[in-house]
């Protein structure tokens, strides 16, 4: 396997319902990534695109093929990846593998989603399709419901009274909005307070509105190139040094592990081992904070804090820039937004720019290693990537 460099990155504004289509958003993000890579579209040999729901959002299948045509490169192989909310990361991981293997020299990974276009009832229905439709959706399971259940289990398993845990969870969302307010591409660029979280409607006990990420329209893209090609194209290389991916069945099948998600522990170990690093070597992470509790579960499974200790760590500021580990300086899914097929690639976008030192007032100074963490469904697809400056 040869070294692979993340060259240019691109990302549209993330927001509620946009006038642009999923194909238009993807093509714009891709063109930005291509331009930043100092290449032309014709230099792209293949496209790997994360997209979960454009069939439902717009009645559009194969957005990857139409985006390739819009970029003037119809004729190259283009694939779509569906791994629920980790679709973009699964696409990026495979894109990496094709370059690392030597089959291609330059590929584009991207993701696009226009989930906000669906409105809340249909979006809630379609997101629930990523749970087990036969054995768990019949009970009326929703994604906030999955994490509501994990929150109640977390509280009991680790002996944290719900009232205390709720304040700690609210701090997760407050942190996300603090950074989102400093990201011009974020869906929510407004700080919130713990009281704002407590004033939200109840979505799925005990999670209230601001414990939950929004539905979002947006797209992101990254160009991966072999080291040899990249040398001529950039003087600020960022390398992919670790990858991991894992899967799991329905929630009931994960009984022995909950509230831990074993798939994440498998995927992240693969990535750490491949990169030859440990959690303490990571300077900045973009992790899958689809719900406030999801942040705690991720921080523990990834090895940043002991099990049951992440809530306290958040409360003490250990997950902010300057703390033990800088978490979601982009604002994360909560404040930046969560266009599900694009999310994993948007995480790569942020980490690449952090490692290049281009993030302005939300910059993690001197960051050398960055990591992405993307969760699809209730553990069905989990992908971790580790990137390194240089």
């Amino acid at each position: 396997m040869r070294k692979v460099v993340a060259l240019g990155v691109g990302m549209t504004k993330f927001s509620g319902k946009q006038d642009k289509t999923a194909v238009e958003l993807l093509t714009e993000a891709a063109m930005d990534a291509i331009n930043e890579s100092n290449i032309k579209p014709k230099d792209i040999q293949a496209m790997f695109i994360g997209n979960a729901l454009s069939d439902f959002c717009e009645g559009q299948g194969q957005p990857h093929a139409f985006a390739a045509d819009a970029l003037g490169i119809a004729g190259i192989p283009a694939n779509r990846y569906e791994g629920a909310c980790a679709s973009g990361s699964a696409a990026a991981r495979d894109a990496y593998l094709w370059v690392a293997s030597g089959y291609y020299d330059i590929v584009l990974a991207g993701g696009t989603e226009t989930a906000a276009k669906m409105g809340t009832p249909l979006a809630t229905r379609t997101f629930a399709m990523f749970s087990d439709s036969r054995y768990e959706y019949a009970s009326g399971l929703t994604f906030p419901g999955v994490f509501g259940m994990l929150t109640n289990l977390y509280s009991t398993r680790y002996g944290i009274p719900m009232e205390k845990l709720k304040r700690q969870l609210a701090q997760v969302s407050v942190n996300s909005h603090y950074y989102g307010a400093r990201n011009p591409k974020a869906q929510f660029q407004k700080e919130i307070s713990i009281e704002d979280v407590f004033n939200g409607i109840m979505v799925a006990y005990p999670l209230q509105l601001l414990d939950c990420c929004p539905f979002t329209d947006g797209a992101a893209a990254v160009v991966f190139a072999s080291e040899e090609k990249a040398k001529k194209l950039t003087n600020k290389p960022v390398s992919v040094v670790g990858i991991g991916q894992s899967s799991a069945g329905n929630l009931a099948s994960q009984k022995e592990y909950l509230p831990r998600l074993r798939a994440r522990e498998i995927a992240s170990k693969q990535a750490y081992d491949m990169a030859g690093v440990k959690p303490q070597d990571i300077d900045v992470i973009e992790l899958h904070d689809c719900f406030s509790t999801a942040t705690l579960i991720a921080l523990e499974s990834l090895g940043f804090f002991e099990f049951g200790k992440a809530a306290e760590a958040v409360e003490k500021g250990k997950t902010k820039i300057g703390g033990k580990i800088a978490v979601n300086p982009s604002g994360g899914l909560k404040a930046k937004g969560h266009p599900i097929g694009a999310t994993g690639v948007a995480q790569v976008y942020e980490i690449a720019r952090q490692l290049r030192g281009e993030c302005g007032e939300r910059q993690v100074e001197g960051a050398k290693y960055g990591m992405t963490d993307t969760l699809g469904g209730d553990g069905g697809t989990i992908v971790n990537l580790i990137l390194k400056k240089g």
Binding site: L122, R125, Y135, S139, A204, A252, S253, K255, L258
Partner: protein
């Protein structure tokens, strides 16, 4: 190789208040049908009827529902740890969704019946799920 227990067979039995599962020759019991035992890798699985008794592993009350489920809102979902060792998801029918707390976790429940999701244009037909009630 065919499934020993299919969704259709499981679903039809559940509509008759019979909760089917699979028991492997190694002793592992699974609730939803599968081809291979997750514990030992064997395909030597037998269809068994589960008693529908267990403890609440975790739960939630749903207040924002998917399109098509509006008439059911709000409702309580429980993940139940069955006495046979498998977990299963169902609704908790004897608890007010507005008055839940983590005190529910660990409480004994039994299957009191089933409810059928009539299906929507995405679901390819009716799907039953177990209803549980607290044991007094």
């Amino acid at each position: 190789m065919e499934f020993k227990l299919t969704f259709k067979e499981y679903n039809e039995a559940l509509k008759q208040n019979k909760l089917l599962g699979l028991k492997c020759s190694c002793g592992r019991v699974s609730s939803s049908p599968r081809m291979v035992c997750p514990a030992c890798g064997s395909t030597d699985l037998q269809v068994v009827e589960l008693k529908g008794k267990g403890k609440i592993m975790t739960f939630t009350s749903i207040f924002v529902v998917p399109e098509g489920r509006e008439p059911e809102c709000p409702y309580v979902i429980a993940l139940v740890d069955l006495d046979e060792g498998a977990a299963i998801m169902g609704n908790l029918s004897s608890v007010d969704p507005n008055k839940v707390s983590t005190d529910l976790i660990g409480k004994k429940v039994k299957m009191s019946g089933n409810a059928v999701f009539a299906g929507d244009k995405y679901s390819a037909g009716e799907i039953a799920r177990p209803l549980f009630s607290l044991e007094s």
